[in-house]
Symmetry: C2
Subunit: 211 residues, 2 copies
């Protein structure tokens, strides 16, 4: 509370070097400090928090700078949390050419996601259809069993419920929106990471069982 | 069974144009066809299946060509399925500088993954530690609740069990290894896709409840 520091101290506090902080300010990812003398600006808690968000997006999430700027503009706006989720999701979703997706694949995705409240243009629906296409055999069979798809859908839903609970726990709009963004971007990375670990662990268990 | 076609027919069957097939052969992603005349080669079922795998890796998984070559070399070898999993996992894991990860973050990851059979250098363990670091507050608190991390770990484990069941269902080594690779690479894309859909669906439900 009431933090008021020079850029050098902000650098130490946030673990980001001064040149990088200046770069973020030029790129409008971080608001400029408050000028207290003609050549000295002061920074507060909001800068420390924003720096954490910027680094999470760029360094851990691998989000391009222009996209990060769009995502961060939602934090500073009065947009709803639901809208923030949409922007954050779009930032980490590949652009998909809808015309390249077969209607059969979309139908299979919709069958797995029966009862989910999603718009037809949800980026996840289209990306899932692309994966379904990749698995589909030449004779039109699905290639993998329905239970495999169902396990992924259930896991994704469990995680989305945990995300929402974590957002609900936050006290105010700003920290809720921050969690939506961090959760969306870092959640993918975290899940893929845990999946690597789980894959090794489950396979090691199976290998053990065969000995 | 017993398919034997010219490159133009292979192109039609697999939905990949002839120039692209030739490119894959030059890049050693696809074995050359069998020469039946000095300027005519024939292709069989194995080429159709390999083309599906190549496209899944490059187009849906976004794997670089050199990495795809390494992954595919495991399919053609007699390496164990466990080893195939390791190579496939590495192909979709970012290279992480272990010295940049704080011991505290690694300790937190290990606490969440208690009881998992993984090696210290598992790429997922290190990537997860990076995410933990990104969430950690300046005062050292974790930023997000333990139950959030636990939900992700459980979902990842559920998915790994489904992956293993799907591999077990395959009749022979070649198709098992193919599933390990497709599952590892496309599974990340599928989960992220379903997570986009689940996020919208769960948030829409919460919004509805507030009305």
């Amino acid at each position: 509370m009431g933090l008021s520091v020079k850029i050098s101290e902000l650098s130490t506090l946030a673990g980001v070097n001064v040149a990088t902080i200046k770069f973020y300010i030029r790129e409008q990812l971080l608001p400029a400090g408050e000028l207290v003398k003609p050549n000295q600006a002061e920074y507060d808690d909001s800068h420390v928090r924003r720096l954490r968000l910027v680094r999470a997006l760029l360094e851990v999430g691998g989000v391009p700078i222009a996209t990060a700027r769009d995502v961060l503009s939602v934090v500073d706006s009065t947009e709803s949390i639901f809208r923030a989720l949409g922007v954050a999701q779009k930032s980490v979703s590949p652009v998909i050419d809808q015309t390249a997706i077969s209607p059969a694949s979309l139908k299979s995705v919709d069958a797995v996601l029966t009862g989910w409240a999603i718009e037809p243009h949800n980026p996840g629906r289209l990306a899932a259809a692309q994966v379904f296409s990749a698995f589909t055999e030449d004779d039109g069979s699905t290639g993998v069993s329905e239970s495999w798809y169902a396990a992924y859908a259930k896991a994704a839903r469990d995680v989305a419920v945990a995300d929402m609970a974590e957002v609900d726990r936050r006290p105010d709009r700003a920290s809720k929106v921050e969690m939506v963004i961090m959760g969306t971007v870092l959640g993918d990375v975290l899940f893929a990471a845990f999946r690597r670990a789980a894959g090794e662990s489950v396979a090691a268990g199976a290998q053990q069982a065969q000995c």
